[in-house]
């Protein structure tokens, strides 16, 4: 066996060389190579001349010249134009992902103007559904999902990012801005909420919070994932190949990978509160009215500044000296989470979050006489909503605070110390624990004042919730000992401090923890210590000389001080009442830049445990340089990505747009424009489109107008035997595209054709019907939440379907929607029996067939012929051919006869809830509706129904 391993090494080396590998060169090499130009994609695109063509009459716009020139060279003729109904369905599916309504088709057929097609394109590009259709493709690249991925795969709130993408497309945000905001929106001057939300792009990486993980390991995995996502989606380059060694094919060196990495490696993994426009208005109103009341107080109290000064003097003195402890954490006691020691002697809880645990801190001390302890709950950008806790509110609850001591040389001789009093800078009113923390024990659990942390009762805990808008603040509690701890042992003392945190819920595989997030412990020798009622932030401002304070800082001091003024009780109560109206809002994963630069090292073999030399942020030598003076941070990097000189950025995005229209990109490897990528089928067209995009203000809608308005796109998709033989993949575009639509559109067509579709844009993700067992063990790792929508959200577009990564929504999965575990810029397009089972038997497909049947008998006229025509057009846009009419009406008659004869029960087929009466239109029998349901189901299952022709 040992010999085998030796052999293996040899074989490996051989394999590497055989594959043309350049094994990691000494990463210390720092030779600057000049930009190579031998590979087409490394040179920035230049607008090519339009080629000459013979058949000028065919040309609708410049795209057609490139296509036709190639066809003429290949001695192929373009196909005739598609018939108008088919063209409108194609345009509609391509631009908004929904089929046209019969009214829209009629309108188009009636419009004989030369601009008829153009008008339709404009109409569709102006539709809010355009953003849903094209945003969804970007979400593939952004590996968007509503859960965090590994094992527990807990749900996360990121739909604000999804909606940001949709609206960015709808408002035709220039593509360069679109990228800059997603990479570094938080670093833009006066960044708006929406620009912060955009950084969710990078935060869509998965997070492993299974028990016992090393958070740094999975932070690094997330970093690699971000690099991969940027490489695939923005650059169209396989940069992740250089994670372990120099790129084997492209001139990207191992150290250059980590120099790019360094741009991204300086962020907090943050989660921030976000508000809808309505909620923002409410917030502004609260802020405004608070300021008004405060102004009124100041106005009414001319000497307020003198009073506040006196108060400042007064409180400067009553401060206790605290000695900060640097304890160790007992590993077993953390319940699988990690308490990471921070430079300020605090501990940040990361990784797995158990719903119940009692963490033990062990500290050595030589202090002679300890009278009390202070527990600080600190905020941190890496905690939910900034902390100070780890719950979904960014809060936590302290069930019990306990202290023991023992002589250092006899650690088993433990004395437990009684705490006689607990004080805190925030006393919450006692109230029952929130429902999300229900532990199914049927005990009455509550949170309340800090005294709850020393009452010896497991059901009560100190809570720190000051309500929405004001809750994510640092807090402190002080625990006064009954009798001081006398340190008589020569060896010094060991202190065991326990923070019991038992106020989480029953399911540790869900977001039910109620833990403290960042804690710091101190002790004091002062007699009878109590908590400082003045918040630490206010203390810090008071310590500043008055003339150095900004007006906002002075106002912040005032804001606290006014709460201490007894005669302002009413005004304070009015302000509190205002804040109680503050909206809860939602949350969004974002990036915040760290103040202190995190050092980045080259990682040998990509292993975070094997760091090598330190690297500084920088860009690869073979790509365009950073502009002079660009900041060496994410913002500089983001701007570099969309620099006009970038050789791949514009080409990558126009190529993917082309791919969506025609099934294959001009470069068939959209994720790889490097040496291993495929040569473009129409290199000049690719460059022309890329330059056109940049010169037209990076407007994607402009590119859509060009492609959708071209004669090439408008061709019939009929495949002649000759074309099938010559060009089965339609790379030459001698015909229009004929492709099965993407998973989401498969679903949306059924909903739209049946009239069930709820066209609402945006909002939290929804839960259409899905088999319950999928979300329960043993199919799912832990029990997941899937509350089937019974109301109007049942029929939302598929982009809004909640996406668990570990349990993908089956309807979308079976039609090749990606699972969002990695960035995806090219979907598979399979054709399987499982798809047939879904389209035939799945709940919403059947409900769509029923709805279409009811609509047909109500609105499709009085004759079978008109009804069939109506249903057929709703699904397929065109008018049925006579043999199709015969077939479908034959089915209708055969099945109707079975219902009438009693062989089958029409209610079961025609009605979602057979025991609920459904009013029938005049002259229509339930047997008719049932037979129409059978016909509608067949229509929705036709190849053509889920195909863009």
């Amino acid at each position: 066996m040992a010999r085998r391993k030796l052999l293996l090494t040899a074989v490996l080396l051989f394999t590497a060389f055989a594959a043309g590998a350049h094994w990691p060169e000494a990463a210390t090499q720092n030779t600057q190579h000049s930009p190579p130009s031998d590979h087409w994609a490394y040179n920035a695109p230049v607008r090519p001349a339009l080629p000459e063509v013979k058949d000028k009459g065919w040309i609708a716009n410049p795209i057609d010249r490139f296509i036709l020139a190639r066809l003429e060279k290949e001695k192929l003729l373009p196909s005739p134009a598609a018939d108008r109904a088919t063209l409108l369905r194609r345009l509609s599916l391509d631009l908004i992902g929904l089929p046209p309504s019969p009214e829209e088709i009629d309108g188009f057929l009636r419009d004989t103007s030369a601009r008829a097609v153009e008008k339709q394109i404009d109409r569709l590009l102006a539709s809010p559904h355009y953003g849903e259709r094209w945003g969804r493709l970007w979400l593939d690249a952004a590996r968007y999902a509503d859960s965090d991925g590994y094992e527990k795969d807990k749900s996360r709130q990121v739909w604000f990012y999804r909606d940001w993408v949709i609206s960015a497309f709808n408002e035709d945000k220039p593509y360069d801005k679109f990228i800059i905001e997603q990479i570094a929106g938080d670093l833009l001057p006066d960044a708006t909420q929406q620009q912060h939300v955009a950084t969710g792009f990078l935060r869509n990486s998965m997070i492993n919070e299974e028990g016992g993980v090393d958070p740094e390991q999975f932070r690094m995995e997330a970093m690699f994932d971000r690099m991969d996502a940027i490489g695939k989606s923005v650059l169209g380059l396989t940069i992740q190949c250089a994670q372990c060694h120099n790129h084997k094919y492209d001139p990207l060196r191992h150290d250059e990978y980590y120099r790019l990495f360094a741009f991204l490696n300086n962020s907090h993994e943050a989660q921030t509160a976000v508000y809808t426009p309505e909620e923002e208005m409410k917030r502004s109103e609260i802020f405004r009215r608070t300021r008004e009341i405060e102004a009124e107080l100041q106005h009414r109290t001319p000497d307020w500044e003198a009073r506040i000064s006196a108060w400042e003097e007064d409180i400067k003195h009553n401060r206790i000296e605290w000695k900060i402890l640097r304890p160790e954490v007992n590993d077993i006691s953390t319940g699988g989470s990690r308490y990471l020691p921070m430079p300020d002697a605090s501990f940040l809880a990361q990784g797995y979050a158990p719903t119940k645990h009692r963490v033990k801190f062990v500290a050595r001390t030589d202090e002679p006489r300890i009278t009390g302890f202070r527990l600080e709950l600190l905020t941190d950008p890496n905690l939910p909503l900034g902390g100070p806790g780890r719950s979904v509110f960014g809060l936590g609850a302290l069930t019990e605070f306990e202290v023991e001591s023992a002589p250092a040389d006899a650690p088993d001789k433990i004395t437990k110390h009684k705490i006689v009093r607990a004080t805190a800078d925030f006393e919450q009113e006692a109230r029952p624990l929130e429902a999300i923390f229900d532990d199914r024990s049927n005990r009455r659990r509550s949170v309340g004042p800090v005294a709850f942390a020393i009452d010896g009762v497991d059901e009560t805990a100190w809570g720190v919730d000051a309500g929405p808008g004001r809750r994510n603040q640092p807090r402190e509690a002080v625990f006064t000992l009954d009798r001081p701890i006398e340190n008589t042992a020569k060896s010094g003392l060991i202190l065991n401090i326990y923070l019991k945190q038992n106020h989480g819920g029953w399911n540790s595989d869900d977001n039910q923890n109620n833990n403290l997030g960042r804690v710091r412990l101190s002790l004091t020798l002062a007699p009878d210590p109590i908590a400082d009622p003045v918040p630490a932030a206010v203390r810090a401002l008071i310590d500043k000389p008055r003339d150095k304070r900004t007006p906002a800082e002075q106002q912040a001091i005032f804001r606290y001080w006014r709460t201490t003024v007894a005669e302002w009780k009413d005004a304070n109560a009015r302000i509190d009442a205002l804040w109680r109206e503050h909206p809860e809002g939602a949350s969004q994963l974002v990036l915040f830049e760290r103040e202190e630069m995190r050092s980045t090292h080259l990682l040998r073999r990509g292993d975070f445990l094997r760091p090598d030399k330190q690297v500084a942020p920088g860009v690869p030598a073979y790509l365009h340089p950073m502009p002079d003076g660009a900041p060496p941070n994410r913002l500089g990097f983001a701007r570099w990505l969309v620099d006009r000189r970038s050789p791949t950025t514009a080409r990558t995005v126009v190529n993917r747009i082309w791919q969506s229209y025609f099934g294959t990109g001009l470069v068939s490897t959209p994720e790889d424009f490097g040496r291993q990528g495929e040569q473009p089928s129409h290199p000049e067209l690719l460059d022309w489109l890329a330059v056109e995009l940049m010169e037209r203000g990076w407007s994607l809608k402009h590119i859509h107008r060009l492609i959708a308005g071209s004669a090439a796109y408008g061709q019939s998709s009929r495949i002649s035997p000759e074309l099938l033989r010559r060009d089965p993949d339609n790379r030459l575009i001698a015909r229009g595209p004929r492709l099965r639509v993407e998973a989401e559109i498969v679903r949306d067509i059924a909903l739209a054709a049946s009239g069930l579709l709820n066209a609402k844009v945006g909002g939290p993700s929804v839960f259409p019907p899905s088999p319950e067992f999928l979300y329960l063990p043993p199919t799912s790792y832990g029990p997941k939440i899937w509350r089937e929508e019974k109301g109007e959200d049942r029929y939302r577009r598929a982009i809004y379907t909640f996406r668990y990564r570990s349990v993908p929504y089956p309807v979308l999965q079976v039609f090749d929607a990606p699972a969002a575990d990695v960035s995806c810029v090219r979907r598979a397009r399979s054709n399987t029996p499982l798809q047939a089972l879904v389209a035939l038997n799945e709940t919403l497909f059947l409900e769509s067939a029923r709805a279409l049947a009811w609509r047909t008998v109500r609105e499709g006229g009085a004759t079978n012929a008109s009804r069939l025509n109506y249903a057929f057009r709703r699904v397929l846009a065109r008018i049925p051919a006579p043999e199709e009419v015969n077939e479908l009406l034959g089915l209708w008659q055969r099945q109707r006869a079975r219902f009438i004869s009693g062989e089958a029960n029409p209610w079961n087929l025609a009605v979602n809830e057979p025991d609920r009466a459904a009013p029938l239109p005049k002259g229509v029998r339930m047997e008719d509706v049932a037979a129409w349901t059978a016909v509608a189901r067949v229509l929705l299952n036709l190849d053509e129904a889920i195909t863009k022709e």
Partner: protein, 479 residues
């Protein structure tokens, strides 16, 4: 690397294209455009035909195994209580492990410097091979002369999701194809109306790696595993919905087929033929799958052999279903039994888990043997890693341990009746014949007829393999 485009049809009239496609279609289809992709990217001899991605194919050399049943003991069973008896561990129970052993060691939950925990169960030697097994495995001890026990497995991951991904895809990160997908990609399917790669989950929860454990990664999605249930409808949406009876379903499918054919004659797209075929297969699957998974048709003595009780979902029932699937041409079956994460309650839970699984695992090997199926069916038993020789908690738990663990294999070209590899005195590190997960993968592919270095797929400009740049075939395992 690019190959000439294949020409899907040479016919001169659309009708002929139509007919020809019907004749040629025999499996589940894949879009013609997507297939071109696939074809252009093949880097090995057994190229799936463009129009038939699941058609049976000939591998690099004559395979020993045609089928695989992987009994995935998710959560990571303790090798120290089941297969790898360590008297020294018993002797040093309650003491700290040697410091140099722990250098650079990372544990999930415990401080690595925790006391050692002696084995909790008795071991004896069994069979002619004299394999040493725990008292918890009375049934497996009966089949030791039919299996190869590997005591020297090792992996890179010490958390469940990455560990399970490693064992299934050869990588700790998401996005790589699973070994089942690689197998189907290489071999195609022999099942007419069943998926080629079927997955069950029977434990107390689903696997930590989720769907990615059987995902197709960057391979075409037709190669991904299809999750079956051991209760109710075996496949999602298999039953006709309320209001749709057999006659209506057939009548509807006939209409769909006729209308699709009409469209095909107009549009000329061979993809429509694939669609027609998919619908026919779906209809056949509706009939055959429930029948196939109905174990009540099995004779009493077979049910008793497995400990299976029809109608009561269990691991035993599922193992029996796996046998029936393999008999009917399903190539790759995985059963995830996620139950083995004994951080605590080691004694109680191991006893229960073995009671739930031991009999059926042994029965599967014996049953396959008596049917003559064992010789071309590879049976694999094991989890994603092992457990620490050090204690977790009081004295009844063990933490995750990647350095050493035990698996067993049987049938399909595996040499029976042997134990391979050895760990050190504490069961901490591999002492002899280290077999990494990559080596296991290389060996599995070898048994299926593949050179693991040549079964590749071009993605993002690189030829990927299940074993990445690692792995070598473990000759000692081969019969």
């Amino acid at each position: 690397m690019s190959r000439p485009k294949s020409v899907p049809a040479k016919s001169h009239s659309t009708e002929a294209v139509n007919r020809r496609w019907f004749l040629e279609q025999c499996g589940v289809g894949l879009g013609a455009a997507a297939l071109h992709h696939l074809l252009a990217q093949q880097g090995y001899a057994a190229t799936p035909a463009q129009d038939r991605p699941l058609a049976p194919r000939v591998p690099h050399f004559a395979p020993k195994a045609k089928n695989v049943i992987f009994l995935f003991m998710a959560g990571a069973p303790s090798h120290l209580e089941l297969f790898d008896y360590k008297p020294q561990l018993a002797k040093f129970d309650g003491t700290l492990p040697p410091a140099d052993l722990l250098k650079g060691y990372r544990a999930a939950f415990i401080n690595p410097n925790s006391t050692l925990l002696g084995p909790k169960f008795k071991f004896s030697k069994y069979g002619q091979s004299g394999a040493e097994l725990s008292e918890l495995l009375p049934h497996t001890s009966r089949i030791v002369d039919r299996i190869s026990i590997v005591k020297s497995m090792t992996t890179d991951a010490f958390n469940h999701a990455p560990g399970q991904l490693m064992m299934n895809t050869g990588s700790m990160i998401f996005g790589r194809p699973s070994m089942g997908s690689w197998a189907i990609y290489g071999l195609g399917s022999e099942a007419e109306d069943l998926p080629a790669f079927v997955v069950f989950s029977t434990g107390s929860k689903g696997p930590s790696g989720g769907n990615s454990c059987w995902g197709s990664g960057f391979l075409p999605t037709v190669y991904q595993g299809v999750q079956f249930r051991n209760v109710g409808d075996p496949v999602l949406y298999l039953s006709n919905p309320r209001g749709v009876d057999e006659t209506l379903q057939r009548d509807s499918l006939d209409s769909i087929a006729k209308l699709n054919r009409m469209r095909m004659s107009k549009a000329g797209d061979p993809e429509i033929a694939t669609r027609i075929n998919s619908y026919e297969m779906a209809f056949r699957m509706q009939r055959s799958a429930p029948e196939l998974l109905d174990i009540s048709k099995e004779p009493r003595h077979i049910l008793d052999m497995y400990g299976a009780e029809p109608g009561k979902p269990s691991f035993a029932n599922t193992v029996l279903m796996a046998r029936r699937l393999v008999e009917n041409g399903v190539r790759f079956v995985q059963i995830y039994h996620e139950a083995w994460d004994q951080h605590g309650a080691l004694v109680r839970d191991l006893t229960k888990n073995c009671k739930d699984t031991d009999q059926a695992c042994a029965a599967l090997v014996e049953d396959l043997a008596q049917r003559g199926l064992l010789e071309d069916t590879l049976v694999i038993w094991g989890g994603e890693f092992g457990r620490t020789p050090m204690v977790q908690g009081g004295n009844d738990g063990r933490d995750h341990h990647p350095n050493a663990f035990t698996m067993w294999l049987a049938g399909g070209g595996i040499k029976p009746g042997q134990t391979i590899g050895e760990t050190d005195d504490l069961g901490f590190n591999v002492a002899r014949d280290r077999i990494h997960v990559h080596d296991l993968h290389a060996t599995i592919l070898h048994l299926l007829g593949f050179d693991h270095e040549k079964l590749t797929y071009r993605f993002q400009g690189r030829d990927f393999r299940l074993t990445d740049v690692h792995g070598s075939v473990v000759d000692e395992l081969l019969a």
